[in-house]
């Protein structure tokens, strides 16, 4: 960091060179009032409150537009500067409904007291949702505006107020409430949505005195692409844009940074706490995984588990068919007495949201004490097939590069996935490429996804032909000599086999198979191969066949063939399903094993089940898990709620909720981060690791004792070579990636990376006369993950529609189905009812089920149960539409 010496109000400071003066001053401890400036956003210079005197400069320059330079002599408090600042502020106040801020009697009643002047009901801070946490309020106070003779608008304002703008308050959005009557037109929201999110939901509309922040034709936010990320909420200095659920809940007692465990982005969130309860969450803007980005899911659902009604308050033991309350001592003694009988017939399932410490001790318990296999990780969508090729072909079962490298790449290929749903931070990174770095964003997807708005190219393939499309890209690269020859020669083996497998899969043939025009395949291949850095992004949507690694292998081939591994601004980014799936699998727990575990219980091979944090029986998706759980002779459920799974248990153990437990989690870029105990845990709840060490000890096992999460983590590090060198203490503030940030920079662990031949899936689903449509599964973005925590407590809180069947307009016309009709999709394996959404987004001949509660690994065999061809684990089947 280059520094310069400047003088502010007669004091010398050494500050960073070239940054806005207002920021440099703030860092040096000198506050210059400002309203439109916000660190991290571009400079707008519209409020003019930040003026200062700089010796030698003309007039009074705005300190947000003036970069620091050596030798500047700045005066921020001269009468001239203060008068100008207050004059400007008084103009802004004139347009703001509050009257206390400029009232000379403020000292008597205070801005939060009863008005001594005109006690009529007016807009006042006292009656405002932002009272006490409002930047405009605090800036006015700091500038002592009530002492300033309001030269420009005199008494008019502070007596019977300005004509209110009377703009309607917009309450349509479930997460963001808008009231532009207080708006001071600082445009922070416009810049935040544009620059932080790349969505541009807001704009300054109209002009002159009519100017106001607005959306296109006044549509509600969700009509212009808003997904409730809250970036605008976090920056609005007044009460115009507020988090709806917490709007009237007031000021926090404290805010604590922690890691969100609801998806594999692992965002750092600032969780606000009031009266020991969750109040609201905001994105932390320091250099975590998310850089100030977050999503509705994290902000709204993370705290819900703690405040949920129906939490299990103490251990329960089934006696005479009923679950009855007991004590920990009793419960542990009971378990210690019962469990030994099931040694060797024991299996465990753990939610992908629990911490590394929980997973590590459960794994040890399962293997060392119970003689079972490593626990199965329960993920929202089965993602076991997503990483095997990374391990098998490259060497490490994880994303090759940091998430930042998606945004830094010059070409991003988002394949078969919808990151906006599965991991919003990755979607933001991809958007960053398209919007701000001049890179190319390509979306390969059967349906349009949010990212299509920014994507330069869309490869719309028929569901199930993922591998064929990638084969087309590979063949083009080979045919047009776009191969990174040197890289391939030095670092890889198996090229011949790949070439041989592609012999019949010419670009033309692949175009035929996938329905993507050959020219598009070729241009996409060229863009990917010739960009200086290209990144591949995918989530569990990539394969329509759960046990098929073919598509992912082909993508790894693509990265290898073009040399897009082992360097910054490139890489293969797998968006793991589930908040801590990466961490738990790093520690040796098994992905993709939930169904086999349940099957083993069903067949009697497993007799004791230990289920932690996963409501298998309660989710639409795994309702049939109940039959398996029922079959097991002894079931232990550890969780926060008395949910459908807990109802089936012999013993229920009350766990702490995510915000009540300190520990570590690992995000999809291998960043190990700390979660903090933000909220006090209810009495008698325990973290899972705490339960397990007590249980193991009670069962006579040695080496389980640990004083705290820190100690368990140290044990886990000892046992996990990849985590060598990590220490709990050093993970504070943004965490630490295991392995090099960019893997394979100095070669591959096995010496060479392996190409794999491309194989097309064995049994593609072929629609026929009785089942003429392809039935695919989509996600309902807002519903994904949110339902489990919110809808269960409050059925009215579902911010999304009913189960939706997305039907292409052509098919709808043929069947006489209209938008909003209730329809059924009938397949060989079962049927599914929902509301038809007729659309042209998607391909004719494909019906997409948009499932709200896609919380579960076995969505494939669950809600759609049956709809899916169980034999090959397809997420795709053939069906027909009926009214």
């Amino acid at each position: 960091m280059e520094t310069v010496k400047i003088s502010i109000d007669g004091q010398e400071y050494e500050v960073e060179k070239g940054i806005p003066l207002v920021l440099a001053a703030e860092r040096a401890g000198v506050r210059i009032p400002h309203l439109c400036f916000n660190e991290g956003l571009s400079v707008f210079a519209g409020c003019r409150v930040c003026v200062v005197n700089i010796e030698g400069a003309r007039g009074l320059p705005t300190s947000c537009t003036t970069p620091t330079a050596d030798g500047q002599i700045i005066w921020t408090k001269t009468p001239e500067v203060l008068d100008m600042q207050r004059g400007v502020m008084s103009l802004i106040l004139a347009d703001h409904p509050d009257r206390c801020l400029s009232c000379h009697r403020q000292e008597h009643c205070g801005i939060q007291g009863v008005c001594l002047r005109d006690a009529v009901v007016t807009y006042r801070c006292l009656t405002c949702a932002k009272n006490g946490r409002c930047e405009f309020q605090s800036t006015s106070e700091e500038m002592e505006m009530h002492r300033y003779p309001m030269r420009y608008y005199q008494e008019r304002h502070s007596w019977y107020g300005p004509e209110h703008k009377e703009l309607p308050i917009r309450r349509e959005n479930p997460f963001v409430e808008l009231d532009f009557n207080e708006c001071i037109l600082c445009t922070r929201c416009v810049r935040a949505c544009d620059e932080v999110r790349g969505l541009s939901c807001y704009e300054m509309t109209y002009k002159g005195p009519e100017a106001k922040i607005g959306t296109s034709f006044g549509l509600p936010l969700q009509g212009v692409g808003c997904d409730g990320c809250g970036a605008c909420v976090d920056v609005c200095p007044v009460a115009s844009i507020l988090d709806k659920p917490s709007k009237w809940k007031g000021v926090a007692d404290q805010a604590v940074s922690t890691t969100c465990t609801l998806c594999s982005a692992g965002c750092t969130l600032d969780v606000e706490v009031k009266d020991n309860a969750f109040l609201r969450a905001a994105a932390n803007r320091s250099d975590g995984a998310n850089h100030g980005v977050s999503c509705a899911r994290g902000r709204q659902a993370l705290g819900a588990q703690s405040s949920a009604t129906g939490r299990v308050g103490r251990p329960l033991i089934r006696r005479d068919g009923k679950l009855v309350e007991s004590t920990w001592d009793e419960a542990l003694a009971f378990l210690a007495q019962q469990l030994p009988a099931y040694k060797g017939a024991f299996a465990s399932i753990i939610s992908s949201r629990l911490t590394n410490e929980d997973g590590y001790l459960l794994s040890r318990f399962a293997r060392e004490v119970m003689g079972g296999d490593a626990p199965a990780i329960h993920t929202p969508v089965d993602d076991s097939a997503l990483v095997e090729p990374l391990a098998g072909m490259l060497g490490v079962a994880a994303s090759t590069n940091p998430l930042d490298d998606i945004g830094d790449a010059k070409c991003v290929l988002v394949f078969g996935s919808d990151p906006q749903v599965s991991q919003p931070v990755a979607a933001w990174q991809a958007r960053r490429t398209a919007r701000f770095t001049g890179g190319t964003l390509m979306v390969a997807s059967p349906r349009q996804i949010e990212l299509n708005q920014q994507a330069q190219q869309w490869l719309q393939y028929r569901p199930g032909t993922e591998s064929a499309l990638i084969a087309g890209l590979l063949s083009t690269i080979l045919e047009e000599n776009l191969t990174a020859t040197e890289f391939v020669a030095a670092n890889t083996q198996g090229l011949e086999a790949l070439q041989a497998s592609l012999a019949a899969l010419t670009p033309a043939r692949c175009a035929e198979l996938t329905g993507v025009p050959e020219a598009d395949i070729r241009s996409a291949a060229r863009a990917f191969a010739t960009a200086p850095g290209s990144a591949i992004v995918y989530d569990a949507g990539i394969t329509q066949f759960t046990n098929d690694t073919g598509a992912v292998s082909a993508l790894v081939d693509l990265a290898l063939l073009t040399g897009q591994v082992g360097k910054p601004g490139s890489g293969i980014h797998v968006l793991r399903s589930g908040g801590n799936t990466q961490g738990l699998s790093d520690l040796g727990l098994a992905t993709g094993a939930v169904l086999t575990t349940l099957d083993a219980a069903r067949s009697g091979q497993v007799q004791a089940l230990f289920i932690a944090g996963a409501d298998l029986a309660g989710l639409d998706a795994t309702r049939n898990a109940a039959t398996a759980i029922d079959r097991a002779a002894f079931v232990v459920v550890a969780g926060t709620m008395l949910d459908a799974t807990a109802q089936l248990a012999d013993v229920v153990l009350p766990l702490t909720a995510p915000l009540e437990q300190a520990g570590t989690v690992t995000n999809s870029e291998r960043r190990v981060q700390r979660t903090e105990a933000v909220l006090p845990a209810p009495d008698r709840t325990e973290p899972l690791w705490g339960v397990l060490q007590a249980l193991a000890t009670a069962m006579g096992a040695a080496g389980f004792q640990a004083a705290d999460a820190n100690a368990v983590f140290e044990q886990a590090v000892q046992a996990t070579p990849a985590y060598a060198g990590l220490s709990y203490g050093a993970l504070a503030e943004g965490g630490k990636q295991w392995g090099a940030p960019v893997l394979y920079g100095d070669g591959f662990p096995g010496g060479k990376a392996l190409f794999r031949p491309v194989t097309l899936p064995q049994s593609p689903v072929v629609p026929d006369a009785s089942f003429p449509l392809l039935v695919a599964i989509g996600y309902e973005p807002l519903a994904y993950h949110l339902e489990v925590q919110t809808a269960r407590e409050d059925p009215h809180s579902r911010p999304w529609d009913d189960d939706v069947l997305q039907v292409h307009a052509d098919d709808a016309a043929r069947q006489g189905v209209a938008d909003g009709d209730r329809v059924r999709v009938v397949t060989q394996h079962g049927e599914f009812a929902g509301v038809a959404a007729v659309t042209t987004n998607g391909l004719p001949g494909v019906v997409t089920l948009r499932l709200p509660a896609l919380e579960d690994a076995s969505v494939i065999t669950g809600a759609v149960a049956a709809m899916a061809a169980q034999a090959n684990g397809a997420r795709l089947t053939a069906g027909r539409l009926e009214k």
């Binding site: 704009e203 300054m204 002009k207 296109s216 034709f217 212009v224 692409g225």
Partner: protein
């Protein structure tokens, strides 16, 4: 116009300009020529073709007072408020017109007549000057304003 026809016309216009830069205002103009205003339906196709988010488009659209975002009135009345017309009582004429046309106070909200102020157009010999759908008329003295208003009303109801 039928919804689908609106869509088709918009698509046609958008397609003519697709792939070009700096053509946004032209596209707005063409759409306004076609419909008399820029309808909300135009936003999505333009946004998709030029990769500009709809709200940003709307910001640009509403920045220019030439663009209308609602269907225009059938009769557009332009009231000159230039110096000569002012001296000859244009304000009063305007008030009379507004009142008779139901454009003020409680009589508001007729979409079919709109009154707006214009600058001196050099027809001061006709002061007070009124444009009715672009055609200058004058002098519209205070005494004649009522008749003009009635004529306009009959035009609207016809």
């Amino acid at each position: 116009m039928l919804q689908s026809r609106i869509g088709e016309t918009i698509d046609q216009i958008v397609n003519e300009y697709r792939g070009r830069r700096g053509v946004l205002l032209q596209v707005f103009h063409r759409i306004q020529e076609a419909f008399g205003y820029v309808p909300p339906e135009a936003m999505e196709p333009i946004a998709a073709a030029f990769r500009i988010p709809p709200s940003t488009l709307f910001g640009t659209l509403t920045f220019y007072s030439e663009f209308r975002t609602e269907p225009p009135a059938r009769v557009q009345v332009g009231m000159c408020l230039g110096p000569t017309c002012h001296i000859k009582g244009a304000e009063v004429v305007k008030q009379i017109l507004e009142y008779r046309l139901g454009l003020s106070g409680e009589h508001d909200a007729s979409l079919d007549v709109a009154i707006h102020e214009v600058e001196c157009a050099g027809h001061c010999h006709l002061a007070p000057l009124v444009y009715v759908n672009g055609m200058p008329e004058g002098p519209v003295e205070v005494s004649a304003a009522q008749q003009l208003a009635d004529r306009i009303l009959s035009q609207v109801s016809a």
